[in-house]
């Protein structure tokens, strides 16, 4: 009822529209335009961020790394019964191929992996580092381990331990990418050592 009146009133006001056009057209305000702009801008922003993240998948990194155990600083049994190892490592690595334009930082850590009777795989992090710039991604360090290698038990005497380099690439937009690379092995001494 009301619609018919409005339609006829507009007809009187000199606008020559057919009845079909009258139903399909609607004048909108500046605020509605601003709303539409904000919505479309947000959707396009999500699209370009998704595209940037998608292109990251085509980056096949080829990094080089080398680690060497310089010496075992301390190998003892703790008071609560667990074995503990502290050592000095000499590491050189080149992580520049992990960085793309969509990379915020790379978190890299070195894990000691070994097998015991109770656990098929033990992984203990010995050292980690955050690399935020591509320029700082290639480096060499000779450093004592940040975190000691502590076992769940007393299984480390004479154990063959493998060192594996893990990395987490944190992009600016997108999913975190993980990777790892096994490096050299070493064997722990057969008996506890005192501080040398």
């Amino acid at each position: 009822m009301i619609h018919a009146e409005v339609v006829d009133r507009i007809g009187l006001m000199g606008l020559t529209l057919t009845s079909r056009e009258r139903e399909e057209r609607e004048m909108h305000s500046a605020v509605q335009r601003a709303n539409a702009l904000a919505t479309i801008a947000a959707i396009l922003l999500a699209t370009i961020c998704a595209a940037a993240s998608f292109l990251d998948a085509f980056n096949s990194p080829s990094l080089q790394a080398h680690v060497q155990v310089v010496k075992i600083n301390r190998f003892r049994r703790q008071l609560d019964g667990n074995d503990e190892v502290k050592m000095t490592l000499k590491m050189s690595m080149d992580l520049t191929s992990l960085f793309t334009w969509n990379t915020k930082q790379v978190f890299v850590f070195l894990a000691a992996e070994y097998e015991t009777d109770t656990n098929s795989l033990n992984q203990v992090s010995l050292w980690d580092h955050i690399v935020q710039e591509k320029d700082h991604a290639s480096f060499q360090v000779k450093v004592p381990t940040k975190y000691p290698l502590i076992d769940q038990g007393t299984n480390l005497r004479g154990k063959k331990v493998g060192l594996v380099l893990h990395w987490h690439i944190m992009p600016i937009s997108g999913r975190m990418i993980q990777g790892k690379m096994p490096l050299s092995d070493f064997s722990l001494p057969d008996s506890y050592t005192t501080r040398s």
């Binding site: 009822m1 018919a4 334009w101």
Partner: protein
């Protein structure tokens, strides 16, 4: 003098504050100065007429908005990818969005080249509201209601 000190203070503020703060304040100031151009559908009591768009202008504004936004997104992504700089992509896209908002949202005069002719109030009184009969009104409103669904 108070005026000169104030201008100097404003200039010093512009140089000292960060880019993001500057951009927000300047955009708010731009919106306030262009405020008359936003009074599309609302009637300001002080004025007889208000600045608005017409049908052609509205279509043009919508088309311009979509084209500008998509083009700025594509250009931003392309340049950012080529220059290997994510921040550059964000800056170009933000600049494109602000430019589109500046061109499309306010009721600029070039959107009003075919202005709507509104009936003069004195003329409207001469033509009283039509008395639509019950049968035709109910059928036409039913038709329109079903079409709208």
């Amino acid at each position: 003098m108070a005026g000169r000190e104030r201008i100097f203070g404003i200039c010093a503020w512009c140089i000292r504050t960060e880019t993001a703060q500057r951009l927000t304040v300047l955009s708010v100031a731009a919106i306030l100065t262009c405020f008359p151009l936003f009074s599309g559908a609302q009637k300001l009591e002080l004025r007889q007429t208000h600045i608005e768009m017409d049908w052609q202008g509205q279509k043009r504004a919508e088309m311009l908005m979509q084209i500008f936004l998509v083009v700025s997104a594509v250009v931003a992504f392309g340049l950012g990818y080529l220059m290997r700089d994510f921040r550059l992509m964000m800056l170009i896209y933000a600049g494109g969005v602000v430019l589109t908002a500046f061109i499309t949202v306010p009721n600029w005069p070039f959107f009003n080249h075919h202005p709507l002719k509104w009936l003069d109030p004195s003329e409207a009184e001469k033509h009283p509201k039509p008395q639509v009969s019950n049968i035709t009104s109910s059928s036409s409103s039913k038709k329109k209601a079903s079409k709208n669904k």
